[in-house]
Amino acid sequence: MSPDINGRPSGGLIEPILRVHGATKRFGGLTAVDRVSFEVRPAEIVALIGPNGAGKTTLFSLISGFQPLDEGSVSFQAKDVTNFAPARMAHLGLARSFQIVQVFADLTVHEAVTAAALMRHSMGAALRKADETLALVGLSEKGANVTPELSLQDRKLLEVAKCLATEPKLILLDEVMAGLTMSEAEAVLKVVRRLRSEGMTFVLVEHVMPIVMSIADRIVVMNFGQKIADGSPAEIIEDRFVRDAYFGEDLHA
């Protein structure tokens, strides 16, 4: 399916939904994120890749307000949101998932999604919103289960459902496919693709290269905290720096 059919804006005519400019974060002597700039346009799927420790998750934390930037700025929907509190970012329409996918261990699946839906709805509407969202990701049957009872795949879907229930404009997905088999990952991907076709924007951190190549419109590559490449999957795979830093072993193996 070509992304263009979905009415996705092309070129730089449309205002980016997210703009990260010179984002820098230091931990003691280590610069975890080093002057990273990139933009995400509405209804785009941008993948953030790079070796372990490249600073991808830290960059997510800077964007979503969980860690303050040392330098640089973040703007979301043309508004400067640098160092906004995480809850405020959520209210503005930026949702993020977590790598550790057992976040509300004492809540049932339905309760966890309801809690997220309460951000924009009263209790009655939030309960209905939770029903809808669980149906959308295919978790309706598991509503009464608590998170520890779920399979890994279902936990990842719950993470997506929680993001969706806040009715965001942009979703940051942190390694939602990690640890899944190809067919399990496909179930999650199907949801992501459908949402994008309805206009949702995604930035995802992902390690599984076949998935990244198949789903991303654009790939941002990080290494040692810096952005080393930014382009379409086809461009990235041809990029010599990226090959050296990231694909080298895989391609020569």
């Binding site: 977590f98 809540l107 608590v146």
Partner: protein, 336 residues
């Protein structure tokens, strides 16, 4: 409000038990009424604490400060300045709520973890005790004696053992309903997400300080009100009991043993533990002082070993096996 809440307030089992208690009070002796009143006040205190300690998962050991405020300051305002105890009750509850918000502020400002929060509140609990002991206005170390109860309701007098029992029963009932209401409302959802994972809660738009501060304020105010009733009930306001952090520990013990996942937990635990402890002391106190505490301690350990999540989850499991649906509904146990 979640529909479950309306199921609970219409539960015939719940109201049956409450009415039964109220009716039994008609025939009980003043001695037994005293124990029953104390039980109801402990239920109220444990339920008030559970809003912070259970729903929000914050181990506050400073709740004795709020009991002391409600008991000692309201009594002192009445004795020294002639301020009606109803007014004192409201003033002390408001002051307690403010102090509660201050604790939540400290927690947020310095990002205290669970252990640090417990230790900081313990320190405040101790400080509260010292302030009370050194402050003559609230009776210092020797405490305060309230004038004899003449049964004038407008003066916060409930007229004898039976009156206090009914007042305490009403208070415990109201607190039980408040707990259910919070649990099934937006605030309850937010507190539970904050307890489970604060970062993930923020990611779905929950503001940590705002919600914890509201919970702390409600809990502190409720604790203070129970303290004021305790003072009037016992006539003699003893700071070494009502202002001591030991009281906080007792409250925490009752709430935790009952189970924190349901408001029924603190209620059931108080009904079992408080009379048991009192009666045990009555039977054994004469010959073997201290033995009652040892037996009480063993009982608590036994309950914790048998059901780490509390007494009520254990009871629900048993009831479920015998097909009691109503109990399961009001206890809100998921797959317990």
């Amino acid at each position: 409000m979640r529909p479950e809440f309306f199921g609970i307030i219409r539960s015939p089992f719940l109201w049956g038990v409450i009415v039964l208690f109220a009716v039994l009070g008609q025939w009980a002796s003043p001695y037994h009424l005293g124990i029953a009143t104390q039980t109801m006040l402990y239920i109220a205190l444990a339920l008030a604490w559970a809003i912070v300690g259970g729903f929000a998962g914050q181990l506050s050991i400073a709740h004795n400060v709020f009991v002391a405020l409600g008991a000692l300051l309201a009594s002192a305002l009445f004795l020294r300045l002639g301020i009606n105890m109803w007014v004192g009750l409201v003033l002390c509850a408001a002051l307690s709520a403010l102090i509660g918000v201050f604790f939540a502020y400290l927690d947020s400002k310095f990002s205290l973890g669970h252990l640090s929060f417990a230790l900081v509140t313990l320190a405040f609990g101790e400080v509260g005790m010292l302030i009370v002991a050194g402050w003559d206005f609230v009776g210092g170390a020797s405490g305060l004696s309230l004038p004899r109860d003449q049964g004038r309701l407008l003066n916060f007098e409930f007229g004898g053992a039976r009156g206090y029992f009914w007042a305490a029963l009403a208070l415990a009932t109201v607190y039980l309903l408040i707990n259910y209401a919070i649990l099934h409302s937006r605030l309850g959802f937010y507190l539970r997400t904050l307890r489970d994972n604060e970062a993930a809660a923020q990611a779905v738009g929950v503001y940590p300080f705002r919600n914890k501060a509201i919970a702390m304020a409600i809990s502190a105010a409720m604790t203070s009100v129970a303290g004021t009733l305790y003072a009037r009930f016992s006539n003699f306001v003893d700071p070494s009991f009502l202002a001591s952090p030991t009281l906080s520990i007792e409250i925490i013990l009752i709430a935790t043993i009952g189970g924190l996942t349901t408001p029924l937990g603190p209620a059931v635990a108080a009904i079992v533990l408080v009379p048991f402890s009192e009666l045990l002391r009555g039977w054994l106190g004469g010959q073997l002082p201290g033995l009652s505490h040892i037996i009480y301690g063993f009982l608590i350990v036994a309950v914790i070993l048998a059901s780490p999540r509390g007494l009520v989850p254990l009871l629900v499991k048993i009831f479920r096996q015998r097909g009691g649906k109503d109990v399961a509904t009001i206890s809100m146990q998921k797959g317990a």
